[in-house]
Each structure stands twice: as structure tokens, then as C-alpha cells.
């Protein structure tokens, strides 16, 4: 049986301190410039205690509730991707030698403990694992693997799903799935805010066992947590019909609706920047001023830029409609062909942070409502159906 127990805010402080003493760099939600973002934290005083977020298509603002809860909000503009796959990162460097050049061994990245990972975000990390970690005869991305390998994950169940959340449609939340070391369920009692802590790994067991401030979980604690999460499950407000979505989208590559979206889309790439699974990156080469060394710097890229698809002679995807189609069909359809999973976890960030409030779930519904595929499939041999 997995270890479990109940802690209060002081217990979470002890937990964070134990992780820091164990050599982890502890990262968690903090408030910065009017949004909840992930940064290094040293205790619960760094958390957005008593704050919540109000989200809408193209809208986000914080509200102070003062209820003492430490996790009473959902996801902000950033994701843990920022740490596992940094926005800007040297992936190779070399120095000039007497007869050419040689590779310089990269420094070790920190070992992270992530505190406050939501169900959709756990799923997003699992999606990026499929992109960047070794599979079959494919090698891993060493930069990602080094950061991912030792990371300690403290998940949090979402008690108050946000307005753009559709995790229940994607099967990723609001209750956190597997892949964590510990999961916390926050509830309010007469005695104040408490956290039911349940272990998901041997490391999680060891951490819980070390906490002096933890008391055993009673039946009432478990029932209260279960009731909270059952209520949350029932109130996830947004949804997306994913029936047959792979063939629906890839069978409608020439649907006029792509033009209708492009008429609203600014091509700003915000959706790809806030997406916790978008993994596309570009590489910039830098040369030292004295020519003695060079670096290859990887940074996030977006399929919404013209340069993204550039080959000699011009960009493949020039029209805004082609770029939006690329993003949506990749995220919801061709991701299955390439990585065996959907690229969408239902976190709703792309809806919230779209400056014009484009909602992918509505765009999918619009295409579904006027499906242009022939009634009889052209071919019936698996992945290439209707292509």
C-alpha cells in the first residue's frame, strides 16, 4: 500500500525543506506581474496563498480570496516545460584546437523538484517524454533526459477547474494520473486548510516517512478529499468532442473553415509558447568574438512563423490558414501517428492566452459540423484513411 498522511501548511513547508536538503531545486507557483508562474520557491510563503485565477478566451486575471488555500487556482501562462526543455539552452559547444575543434562537455543541469503539478501537466510531461526520451532504436535528447531523469514531482489535484479547462475530455484530470512521486489534495476544514498527501513512488514513500508534521489519514480525510474531487470532476466546464478526431481533421485538410480561423488568427504564436506539449525548437549558432569557440543554442520555435517551414526557395506554409491547420492537425491528429498519443492535454492555455480568444474546441466543432469527407472512406487500411 502506498504511504499517505495529512499535513497542513507547516507540513508542506517541512516537505519543501526536505526536498531542498535532499539536493533538489524546488520549483513551484508564484505570483509575478499579475500571473501565476513557476519559479524557485523555498517555502509556502512563496506560493500564491489565498489567490485564484479567472480565465476566459483571451482573458486572465488574478483575484484574492484570502481563503488560505495554497493551490486554489489552475494553470498560468507557463508550464514545467520551461524547466525540462528550457526556452533557451546551449545544446552543444566546442572550442578551436590546434588541428580543428572539439566538443566541450556540458555542465550538469540542476535536479528539480516540481511542486504543484496538475493532472493535465503530468500528462503533458508524459507527452514530451514520448518526444524526447529514448524509444525503440531512437536516441533520447540528452538535454531533456538529463533534466527529466531525476525530477521529483509533487502533483496537486485540481479542486476548482478553470473556465477553459477541458481535461475530462482528454482524460488527464482534474485528478492527477500516474507519473508523480506524491499527490496532494487540498481541502478546507474547520481547523483550516489541510492536504491529503499520497505517495506514488518509493521516493515519495521515503519523503512522507521523513515528515514529523504528518498525521495519519483518517477515513474522514479521505472522504472529504474524494467529495472535493468528485465535485471538481463534475464541474469541469469546457469540453471537446474527440470522436474520430484524427480522421476528421486529416480528412478535412482543404476545408474552408481553415480560412475562417485564419481571418481571426494573428499568427502571434502565443498558443505554441504557452502549450505544455509544443516541442518545436530552432537552433542558432553563435561564434565567440575571437573565433575560439562556438555554441549551438536551442530555443522554442513555432509553426506559426514563416521561417519555420523555410527551405531553399521559400516557406512551405505561407498562408495563415496553412499554419493554423498545421498546428491544430498536428496537435490533435498527426501527433498520434508520430508519437502514439494526442498532443493536447486539455489545459486550455491556448484559449486563455490567445489575444483574440480563438478556442480550438470551437474550431474542431465547426469542422465536425460541416465534415467534407466523402461518406464512404477512400481507403480502409489504417492510418492513411481519407488522406
Amino acid at each position: 500500500m502506498t504511504a499517505s498522511g495529512v499535513i497542513d501548511r507547516a507540513g508542506l513547508d517541512e516537505l519543501i525543506a526536505a526536498l531542498r536538503n535532499g539536493g533538489y531545486t524546488t520549483i513551484g507557483p508564484t505570483i509575478r506581474e499579475g500571473a501565476i508562474v513557476y519559479n524557485e520557491i523555498s517555502g509556502t510563503s512563496d506560493l500564491p496563498v489565498g489567490w485564484t485565477d479567472q480565465q476566459a478566451p483571451g482573458g486572465y486575471r488574478l483575484e484574492h480570496l484570502g481563503d488560505g488555500r495554497m493551490f486554489g487556482y489552475v494553470v498560468g501562462p507557463q508550464s514545467w516545460k520551461r524547466f525540462l526543455y528550457p526556452q533557451r539552452n546551449v545544446i552543444w559547444s566546442g572550442v578551436v584546437t590546434a588541428d580543428g575543434w572539439e566538443t566541450v562537455t556540458p555542465p550538469e543541469p540542476p535536479t528539480y523538484a516540481f511542486i504543484g503539478v496538475r493532472g493535465c501537466e503530468l500528462a503533458a510531461i508524459a507527452v514530451q517524454d514520448r518526444v524526447f526520451l529514448a524509444a525503440g532504436d531512437r536516441a533520447a535528447d540528452p538535454s531533456y533526459a538529463a533534466r527529466r531523469e531525476g525530477a521529483f514531482i509533487v502533483a496537486v489535484n485540481c479542486a476548482d477547474p478553470g473556465a477553459n479547462c477541458f481535461c475530462t475530455s482528454m482524460g488527464t484530470g482534474p485528478v492527477a494520473g500516474p507519473g508523480h512521486d506524491l499527490v496532494l489534495t487540498e481541502t478546507v476544514t474547520d481547523d483550516g486548510v489541510v492536504l491529503l498527501a499520497e505517495s506514488g513512488s518509493a521516493r515519495g514513500d521515503a519523503l512522507l516517512a521523513s515528515l514529523a508534521a504528518m498525521r495519519p489519514a483518517e477515513i474522514a480525510d479521505r472522504e472529504r478529499a474524494a467529495e472535493t474531487m468528485a465535485a471538481a470532476q463534475a464541474t469541469v466546464p469546457h469540453s471537446m468532442d474527440t470522436t474520430d478526431i484524427h480522421d476528421l481533421l486529416l480528412g478535412n485538410l482543404e476545408h474552408p473553415h481553415w480560412e475562417a480561423v485564419a481571418a481571426r488568427c494573428l499568427g502571434c504564436a502565443n498558443c505554441t509558447m504557452v502549450c505544455p506539449t509544443c516541442f518545436c525548437g530552432t537552433v542558432t549558432d553563435e561564434l565567440e568574438l575571437d573565433g575560439g569557440g562556438a555554441r549551438r543554442v536551442r530555443s522554442w520555435d513555432s509553426c506559426f512563423t514563416l521561417e519555420f517551414s523555410y527551405i531553399h526557395g521559400g516557406s512551405i506554409r505561407q498562408a495563415g490558414s496553412a499554419r493554423y491547420r498545421q498546428w491544430l492537425t498536428h496537435k490533435l491528429a498527426s501527433w498520434f501517428d508520430q508519437f502514439g498519443t494526442s498532443g493536447c492535454v486539455g489545459c486550455g492555455r491556448c484559449i486563455t492566452w490567445c489575444p483574440v480568444g480563438i478556442d480550438l474546441t470551437a474550431e474542431v466543432a465547426a469542422i465536425r459540423a460541416s465534415d467534407l469527407r466523402p461518406a464512404v472512406p477512400v481507403a480502409a487500411d489504417g492510418t492513411e484513411v481519407n488522406l
Partner: protein, 283 residues
Amino acid sequence: MALLAEPRTALLDPMEPVPFRVRGIRDELEDTFTLELEPPNGRFEFAPGQYTMLYSFGIGEVPISVSGDASRPSRLVQTIRGVGAVTRALRNVRPGDVVGVRGPFGTPWPVDGATGRDIVFVAGGIGLAPLRPAIYRVLERRDHYGQVVVLYGARSPRELLFAEELQDWGGRFDVTVLVTVDNADRAWYGSVGVVTKLVPRAPYEPQNASAFVCGPEIMMRFAGQELESRGVAPEQIFVSMERNMKCGVGFCGHCQFATKLVCRDGPVFPFSEVARLLTVREV
């Protein structure tokens, strides 16, 4: 205590360029040249149709198909058109200089799986370079195949890549070489027009033929359609797709082509898998 952060395992880095020494540079055309590179361990194994990422120190990387002979692994041979910052920098290397190499990457031309069949190579412009290792392979085991045909189109007689080898192959009694140019000059007595026009003229039995096509996307689309209309099965027509390949291993996403990542699922695809996509704009 089990909680302590554990040391990490070292990984083979697919993103690390390996230094190869330049042993030869040969000008092929006004803007096209071939580099001969010496692998640090003396051997570079690849399959015809695969490519590498070539790195010019501090300038950048480009995907380039291997154009040499797979049966001679002591040298990596790559034919490059100097059209951008990196490819122009590669033109300026001298023997003894060092060039970075990652790879080989990608799917090969399945010529070994086409034994017993007629073989049709269709190349346009520099598209002959990625096909040359497959032509070498077929000619090396010539008696394993039926008819062997090389169809080649270039913009002008001055832009015929590997012209001497085309003449050598054409001089053999067991290979048919047909060449055409878009724009002829007064000295040209050969065919004029697009390479797809050569498809009906070549001697091969369509029902028993495998075709390997490399050139601009529009040329591959029409060559594929022409071969199919002659009776070649679309599963037996292979094309080499070009997209922006930046990492070679499926990490960077630049070579997205509908359901495919060209860098790792391709670049060589059966025409049957891509024919429909080639008719959709800006995929």
C-alpha cells in the same frame, strides 16, 4: 536516503557533431561541389538515400544527402549546392580542415528489396546526388536486376550534374540513360523538356518495375503520376521529400509533413503514402 537526487547516466548525444577531416573538394557545377570527408574512425556506414547534418563551425548546420558509394565507407562523399550561409561556408573549406557530421539519418532507397525487377531512376537537377548511391548499388549487383534506366533532367546542358558518369553509364550496354534539359543551347542535340516526358520513352516493364524519384516536389508529383499512369504500382514508386530538416532525429518539428516527420519517417517514402498530400497546398 532514497530521497537524495541520484547521479545521471551518460547518454550518446545525437545532437553532437563529430569532426571529419576534409580530404577532397571537387567543383561539379557553377554553384555545386562535392566534399570528400574522412571519418575519424576510418569508416562511415550508410544506406543509399540517407543524409547527414553537416556543420560548419560557428556558422550552422545543413541536411545533405550522401552522394558517395556505400561500398567504400572509408570516405563520406557529399554533393552540395552553395545557396546559403552554411553551404557557402562549406565551399570555402580546404583539404585538412574539419567539418562536423551528425548522422546518417533517414530512410533509404529500398533498392535491395527490388531485386529481380526493372529499375527506373528519375532525377531532376541536384536530385541526382541522393540517387547516385542507389545507382552505384544497383550497378554493383547489376545481374540482380532486369532493365536499369536512368532518366535525368537539368535546367541546361551546363547544369548536368555528374555528366561524365552519366556518359559512362549511358555507354554501357546494360543501362539506358536518357537526359533532357529545360533550356538547350546550340550545341545540344539531346531532348528538350521536363524529365517526366522521358518516362514513356524508356524501356522497362511497368508492372515489374520499381522507380526511385528525386527532384523538386512538383517534378516528383508529376513523375509519380506519369509512372503510375504507365502501370507502375504506387507502392513501387519511391520519392525523397524535402522539408526543413534541422535536427535529423524528430526533436525540432521543422520537417512536419502531415502525419510524417520527414527527417525520421523519410526522406524516402512510397509514392502511395504521399501522393494525396502532394496535391494539397502548403502541407
